[in-house]
């Protein structure tokens, strides 16, 4: 086990936890497979997004981040199946609705207007046979039936300028744009109706760092201006620490820790979060020794009982192997932090906690 000594001081949280939730995911469960033996990918996941907030969703590949995002919008493709839970979305008009029990028409209406999503494969999210213009416009017109085409086109041009692309690109086909531009077109498209919530699933993984920064900064800037909330999904924790207000760490289909971004970085509570942070080298500051996490992620279709991280956890106790920890407050009852780990939730004495996790 390792010890980094980056910081002992918690920086003040960038934002005090705002009171008003826009998106509340409660006990969402998702299965893959229609057969008799489906894979339970998400198990009663709960997550709250507040107004104006950037919530980072971190976790390694395959832990169910995208699944969560897609399920919350009911966009999961077959064989995905939502087997339980609620997704409460507060619309612009202040009405709250459970996305999972809306009718098709209501859901269609809510989509894009209240909740928009930028996909993981944003490079392939544009229809290759239509011009950018058409793809921007049809989304607008679908929700604003009264609008004239010319107006919609005008709006589309405006959106492109918003993300830093000149309006004459409207006449381009997707393949004529570079990866970064396509990504930005997608973001522009997602912002077309000024939604309440913008979900971005690894919007920059395929891009290089320079481009990544450009795009993310643009989004953050727009957020300031337009005041929407963002769910940002990535497995690049260092990126999240930098841009997110709050971070939720996922592991094997479950949220194992949520806290203010800075806290996750400086004071990870869950052993997995700690391991994650010990896996990437810092660009600046002293070179610290990196340990990574031993073992490999579990196969979601063959989940052992107990804490899914137990087999890789250096601090696993007997109870970890038999009993599934639930997301709850830590023993110290830290503000704004929830952890799913027996070390923290089962009320153990502080002294027993390993150093890093006790900080």
């Amino acid at each position: 086990m390792s010890q980094t000594d980056t910081s002992t001081q918690a920086g003040t949280p960038t934002a005090a936890v705002p009171a008003e939730p826009v998106l509340e995911i409660r006990d969402l469960s998702v299965d893959y497979g229609f057969g008799d033996d489906p894979t339970h990918v998400l198990r009663e996941v709960s997550l709250t997004l507040h107004r104006g907030e950037v919530l980072g969703l971190a976790g390694e590949s395959g832990c169910g981040k995208s699944t969560l995002a897609y399920a919350a919008t009911r966009l999961l493709s077959p064989p995905g199946l939502i087997t339980g839970g609620e997704v409460w979305l507060t619309g612009r008009d202040g009405k709250r609705a459970d996305l999972l029990s809306l009718s098709d028409a209501e859901l269609r209406a809510a989509r894009w207007r209240d909740i928009a999503i930028v996909f993981q494969g944003a490079m392939s999210s544009l229809n290759p046979v239509f011009r950018v213009e058409r793809q921007l416009v049809d989304g607008i017109l679908a929700h604003r039936p009264g609008m004239r085409r010319a107006e919609a086109t005008e709006r589309a041009a405006e959106l492109l300028r918003l993300v830093g692309i000149s309006a004459d690109r409207l006449r381009s086909y997707p393949h004529q744009l570079s990866g970064g531009m396509r990504q930005r077109v997608m973001i522009a498209m997602a912002l077309a109706l000024e939604p309440q919530v913008l979900i971005m699933d690894e919007p920059t993984t395929a891009l290089d760092v320079v481009m990544q920064r450009q795009i993310l900064e643009q989004v953050m800037e727009l957020r300031e201006r337009l005041g929407f909330s963002v769910v940002l999904i990535t497995h690049d924790v260092s990126l999240l620490v930098e841009v997110a207000d709050r971070i939720a760490v996922m592991y094997a289909g479950e949220i194992v820790e949520t806290a203010v971004a800075r806290d996750v970085y400086t004071k990870p509570r869950h052993p997995y979060s700690a391991g994650l942070l010990g896996s990437f080298p810092p660009l600046h500051g002293p070179r610290r020794e990196l340990t990574g996490i031993p073992g490999s992620p579990p196969d979601l279709s063959k989940r052992p009982p107990g804490c899914p991280f137990a087999p890789r956890c250096a601090h696993a106790m007997d109870v970890c192997r038999t009993e599934l920890p639930v997301l709850g407050r830590t023993a110290q009852a830290e503000e704004g932090r929830l952890v799913a780990c027996h070390l923290h939730t089962s009320g153990l004495v502080d002294g027993v906690l390993p150093g890093l996790l006790a900080r």
Partner: protein, 362 residues
């Protein structure tokens, strides 16, 4: 810095791809993609050289040129100081016995239809001889196989030899790929983004493995990445590529902490850095208007390739291509700012890292 002759060195390495599909016989290629233009590299035993640069900067092309997989347009590759000519299969095999490549994507670089045993024994039989001289087989082969798997920490070996790639995790696959490269007992490993496709938690294992091989076996490693932080962590020296040309080279620590070239600065500033929450360094560079995209590699204009995006660029930069200039011992940058020309631009000495070191440090 070069204390000894490098195992593998490249001088003026150049690769032009034909643009616009196939060439029409008899006519000179109409347009060429200048993927790599006059790159110099040196790989030393027991050292890791990182090559960083954004997507499309020619990193993979350099690796493939060094591995002899594609013909060189211009320049020389020297193995132990002797120029390499890989005409013919025998010479090629002799060469790859000493210089091996690891591919970026462990999911794609291992044939899914063959078990691990096939992948590795092929490599062994190609490159190793039996003690009696014949092709490796039987018990000796088995032994070599076990030893190879152990070298990449896949133990116990029996558990893995008969698995198919799809039964292995990404990290395990990448280890198989490395084992395959090690089968030849190479002196040089060309690792083309060996971890970019892997999970954060697994990456480290692979990088540590490579570091371990370097230390134990004294292998020279070319580590290609676009993750500049990992270059700092893992490589002894770092070379920054931009649009097919070397922008800067030097020991990793100083290249990342005190970048000389404006491009390197941009790169370093753009990398996500949890310790720089205010984004000061990034903002500093960004405010200078370094937006925009890399230049087209088809018939690139004269002058510094970074000039169009460079906040300091002068006429000189747009006119003449700068050579690598040794700024401090062991560190060079291809930027007119470090020359002694009259009309040189003023690049200043913006440091992105060390100034804020205290903030992040304990």
């Amino acid at each position: 810095m070069s204390q000894s002759t490098p195992v593998l060195a490249a001088h003026g390495l150049t690769k032009h791809f034909r643009a616009g599909g196939r060439r029409i016989a008899g006519r000179p290629p109409a347009r060429a993609i200048h993927a790599v233009d006059g790159v110099d590299l040196e790989l030393h035993r027991g050292q890791v050289l990182a090559v960083v640069g954004e997507s499309g900067s020619g990193k993979s092309t350099v690796a493939r040129l060094l591995a002899g997989l594609i013909p060189i347009t211009d320049g020389r590759v020297l193995l132990d100081g002797a120029e390499v000519r890989v005409r013919g299969r025998r010479a090629f095999r002799a060469y790859v016995r000493r210089v091996q490549m690891i591919f970026q994507d462990p999911f794609a670089s291992i044939n899914p239809v063959h078990p691990v045993r096939h992948t590795l024994t092929r490599a062994l039989r190609l490159h190793r001889r039996q003690s009696t001289g014949g092709t490796l087989r039987g018990a000796e082969l088995e032994e070599a196989l076990t030893e190879l798997l152990e070298r990449v920490h896949l133990t116990p070996a029996e558990r893995y030899v008969d698995k198919y790639p799809h039964e292995l995790s990404g990290g395990q696959r990448q280890r198989i790929a490395i084992a395959r490269a090690l089968a030849a007992d190479p002196e040089v490993l060309l690792a083309d983004e060996p971890v970019s496709m892997l999970d954060v938690s697994i990456r480290l294992g692979i990088l540590n493995l490579l570091a371990d091989l370097r230390d134990r076996l004294g292998i020279a490693v070319l580590y290609i990445t676009h993750d500049i932080a990992s270059a700092r962590y893992f490589a002894d020296r770092t070379t920054v590529l931009y649009a097919g040309q070397v922008m800067e080279t030097g020991d990793s620590e100083s290249v990342t902490q005190e970048p000389l070239h404006p491009y390197t600065r941009l790169l370093v500033a753009s990398a996500p850095d949890p310790d720089d929450l205010a984004g000061a360094g990034a903002a500093a560079v960004r405010d200078q208007g370094t937006g925009g995209e890399p230049p087209s590699l088809v018939d690139p204009p004269p002058g510094c390739r970074f000039a169009p995006r460079c906040p300091y660029a002068r006429d000189l930069c747009r006119r003449e291509t700068p050579e690598l200039i040794e700024v401090t011992p062991g560190r060079s940058a291809a930027c007119w700012g470090y020359s002694d020309r009259e009309d040189r631009p003023e690049v200043g000495r913006v440091s992105t890292g060390s100034t804020r070191g205290g903030e992040a440090g304990a």
